[in-house]
């Protein structure tokens, strides 16, 4: 930063990608700094294993660096990273659970009943009852309990705030497939959080 530049506007991804492609390591490092936290959250949630998540984190950025010249810029750089991260994370998960099928397909039986057992209003401001750390713990645990496909879709759409189209592209799924998985994910999470956040005393009223 020089005195003639009183305000620094952060470089856009496109600009950084172009410079990184031309061999500017600092530009690539900046992209890494920009997205490593979000990618790590994703790899942690999918692999559910700290060590695997770190391995994948490194592989994602190594691959991104190696294949940067093949990145066309038709999609956002972050969407491209997410696709690598999802693929690598699922590969790790399969290795760790060898023999157990891990895919982005939906489980065969998904009765509506299982996601509609818990119907109760929430306390008016459940967030305020817990510390930031406690709340994060509750929310993480609920996401972790979902099937891989549901937690991945939910993270991309509702936590990372990718569009449906971007999520579809990163996951190699169709838009309708993302939508139906997102619906399931949201309903399952709603059910889980209701067990924690429901207004106390409502159970009692049920007997009156």
């Amino acid at each position: 930063m020089t005195p003639t530049q009183p305000r620094t506007v952060p470089a856009g991804d496109d600009d950084l990608v172009r410079r990184a492609k031309a061999g500017d390591s600092a530009a690539f490092s900046e992209l890494v700094q920009r997205y490593n936290r979000r990618i790590f959250r994703l790899t942690k949630h999918i692999t559910q294993n700290q060590e695997d998540a770190e391995d994948v984190l490194q592989e994602v950025f190594m691959k991104a660096y190696t294949h940067l010249s093949t990145f066309e810029g038709n999609s956002k750089f972050y969407t491209w990273l997410v696709r690598i991260a999802v693929n690598e994370s699922l590969m790790k998960l399969r290795k760790r659970k060898s023999g157990k099928q891990v895919s982005l397909d939906e489980p065969v039986s998904t009765g509506d009943e299982e996601i509609m057992r818990e119907i109760a209003v929430w306390e008016s401001t459940p967030e305020q009852k817990y510390s930031q750390t406690e709340l994060r713990g509750i929310l993480d645990e609920a996401v972790q309990s979902l099937e891989p496909i549901y937690r991945t879709v939910f993270l991309l759409r509702d936590v990372d705030e990718l569009s449906t189209e971007e999520a579809a592209e990163s996951l190699g799924l169709t838009v309708p497939a993302v939508k139906s998985r997102l619906l399931r994910a949201r309903l399952q999470l709603r059910e889980k959080l209701t067990r924690v956040f429901k207004r106390k005393g409502d159970d009692l009223f049920a007997f009156l």
Binding site: A20, K21, A22, G23, S25, F28, S29, V32, N36, R37, R38, F40, R41, E54, L57, Q58, F61, M62, Y65, T66, H67, L68, S69, T70, D112, M116, I119, A120, V121, W122, P126, E127, L135, R136, L139, V143, F154, D158, V159, E161, K179, L182, L183, R186, L187, L189, R190, L193, T194, F197
Partner: protein
Amino acid sequence: MLSCRDVLGWLNEYLEETADLETRRHLEAHVNACPNCWVIFDTTKKTIQVYKGMEPLALPEDVELRLMAVLRRRMESGGSAAPPA
């Protein structure tokens, strides 16, 4: 008249306000008259809200150091981000 199951199928579109006007009117009529659907819609909306915009935690320092070290080695050995050999 829409069934509860039909209504639930429109949950995403309802919450994201992407349902067409006519469907939206039907959904609202049902939700306002059906306590179960009302609670499900309301608590699903709150579920999305508590997660939305949750900032990712910073990378643990050692994880970040190892990541940057691995990348630095790669960048020094490979020169630019050249196409894979």
